[in-house]
């Protein structure tokens, strides 16, 4: 089991459930390192004072905030003092319906695991049981490192899952699209077109199976490394084309539907 990122407790009324937090997502990306080309030595980043031209230790670094008229310097101690007291607890504020939450709010997924023997295990089992029964999601807050997070707790596969959530002001409104914003009143599609598009969607409908999709990018990068190791030359790619809009919407809908029915649409 991976290392826990945080431990504390979920506070739910006057009940405290001691828990440890684990990431529910892992990074499987192929990572590259920066190298010095002639010697193949790893590149390191050094922090240097621009005035003294000397390397600076971590503990001698302060934080600068750019105000309208100059820079304010604050220390780690000041920042730590401003942190809210709730730093060891996840305070549940309310229980809401999952369907009401726009999926755009969900940010990073985690799992909570009971930490602290029988008392913790019982309180955890109780919270999981009533949440699963109610079908509701618990909304709360907590502080991880120096940031306050809005979180949603719900039951996944019998365990309590936590997601950090974006605050409303972290999500732009569709108005940010400017001239590209669709005009729902003016761009009324014809029923004929929509019916045909619905038929196409239904033809391509299936149940969601996450394991049906593999990360082809990762596979290709691994293959590239193998080829390069054997000394093969790799050519630079051509720029991709931007597809042209269709001139006859109905004709392309019909053509796509026909291809979908014969199973030749994808691939």
């Amino acid at each position: 089991m991976a290392r826990s990122l945080w431990s504390g407790s979920v506070s739910f009324g006057l009940v405290n459930v001691p828990v440890a937090l684990y990431s529910a997502a892992r990074d499987l990306d192929v990572h590259f390192h920066q190298l010095h080309e002639p010697t193949k030595a790893r590149i390191e980043v050094r922090r240097v004072c621009s005035k003294e031209n000397k390397e600076v230790d971590w503990e001698d670094i302060a934080h600068g905030w750019d105000a309208d008229d100059g820079c304010v310097m604050v220390t780690d101690d000041e920042l730590a003092a401003l942190e809210p007291r709730r730093t060891r607890t996840i305070d549940i504020e309310r229980f809401v319906a999952l369907a009401d939450i726009d999926p755009m709010h969900f940010d990073h997924p985690y799992f909570l695991v009971p930490a602290g023997g029988e008392g913790a295990a019982r309180a955890y089992a109780l919270l999981a049981k009533v949440m699963e029964r109610s079908g509701r999601v618990a909304i709360g807050r907590f502080v991880l490192r120096t940031k306050e997070y809005l979180v949603a707790l719900r039951v996944r596969e019998g365990a309590i899952a936590l997601s950090t959530m974006l605050f409303a002001d972290e999500i732009r409104s569709p108005g940010a699209l400017g001239a590209a914003q669709p005009d729902v009143k003016k761009d009324k599609p014809t029923k004929r077109h929509v019916d045909q598009a619905v038929a196409l969607i239904e033809e391509l409908s299936t149940d969601f199976d996450a394991s049906a999709y593999e990360d082809r990018h990762r596979k290709r990068l691994e293959a590239l490394v193998k080829r390069k190791r054997k000394g093969e030359e790799i050519e630079a790619p051509a720029e991709p084309e931007t597809p042209e809009p269709v001139s006859d919407l109905m004709a392309s809908l019909r053509e796509s539907l026909k291809a979908a029915r014969s199973g030749t649409l994808v691939g």
């Binding site: 499987l28 080309e37 934080h63 991709p240 809009p245």
Partner: protein, 251 residues
């Protein structure tokens, strides 16, 4: 940020991709505490300790300790050679089958040139069926699995985590209680959940820490030295689950 099209077979819907999120996290620069001078990041060779210029830096993949395969940016880019800039939809799935843990970064799709009709048609059809389109697109030289949703006539796209990028519950050690919660405890906890039931109102929830931090920084910028809050004692923990539940419901 990206002009292309959603394609479903021969159907082409020209779109523009826009980031749907924005960060409000207070941003700091690094300063040297003793003299307030800005900190510079210098790239040095780990062997010689000497600074290295940007044109002498390459990307390497470590095949075994100390052994590197060197790759240029062009070679890494060559891994993804899309013929065209397209979000290629492969399937449509019921929206409620896609758990939000799969969703990663969120985007809006705007209407691309000459695409008003096709956009409105696709959005209306997706809303009518309540389905999510699953497909692939190359963004920033990386093929992404994406989910397309329609809401209020606007198409939204999320990049998705692959199944093997998610941790399964059986990889965790979750201790089972020796004694299951009693019916009285379950009933009391249910009352507590009902008592806290409410609506999801994200507009009412603010990042109070960022607000407090900004207030402090603005006061400091005006030459003031505001008092820093003192740390509170943590709450006492209780072992009596039923008593705590009863007290919570009564509160």
């Amino acid at each position: 940020m990206w002009n292309g099209a959603v394609t479903i077979g021969a159907l082409t819907v020209p779109v523009k991709v826009f980031t749907a999120t924005q960060s409000h996290t207070v941003h700091f620069r690094e300063l040297h505490a003793s003299d307030g001078a800005p900190i510079e990041h210098r790239r040095v060779s780990s062997k010689s300790g000497r600074e290295v210029s940007a044109d002498k830096i390459v990307k390497g993949y470590e095949t075994s300790p100390g052994h590197w395969v060197v790759l240029s940016d062009d070679e890494i880019r060559a891994v993804e050679q899309p013929r065209r800039k397209a979000i290629e939809i492969e399937h449509f799935v019921p929206a409620d089958q896609v758990d939000p843990v799969h969703y990663d970064r969120a985007y809006y799709l705007g209407v691309g040139a000459g695409g008003r009709d096709a956009y409105a048609t696709l959005a209306a059809a997706m809303q009518r069926t309540g389905r999510v389109g699953v497909g692939r697109v190359v963004l920033r030289s990386r093929e992404q699995l994406v989910a397309l949703r329609a809401r209020d006539g606007v198409l939204r796209m999320s990049t998705m985590r692959f199944a093997d990028e998610l941790v399964a519950v059986d990889e965790l050690e979750i201790e089972e209680p020796r004694r299951a919660p009693t019916p009285a405890e379950v009933e009391m906890a249910r009352k507590l959940v009902d008592g806290l039931a409410g609506k999801w109102e994200p507009g009412k929830l603010h990042d109070s820490y960022q607000e407090r931090l900004l207030g402090y920084l603005r006061a400091r910028a005006k030459g003031k030295q505001p008092d820093l809050p003192e740390a509170d004692e943590p709450d006492e923990e209780t072992d009596d689950l039923l008593a705590a539940l009863k007290a919570s419901v009564a509160a």
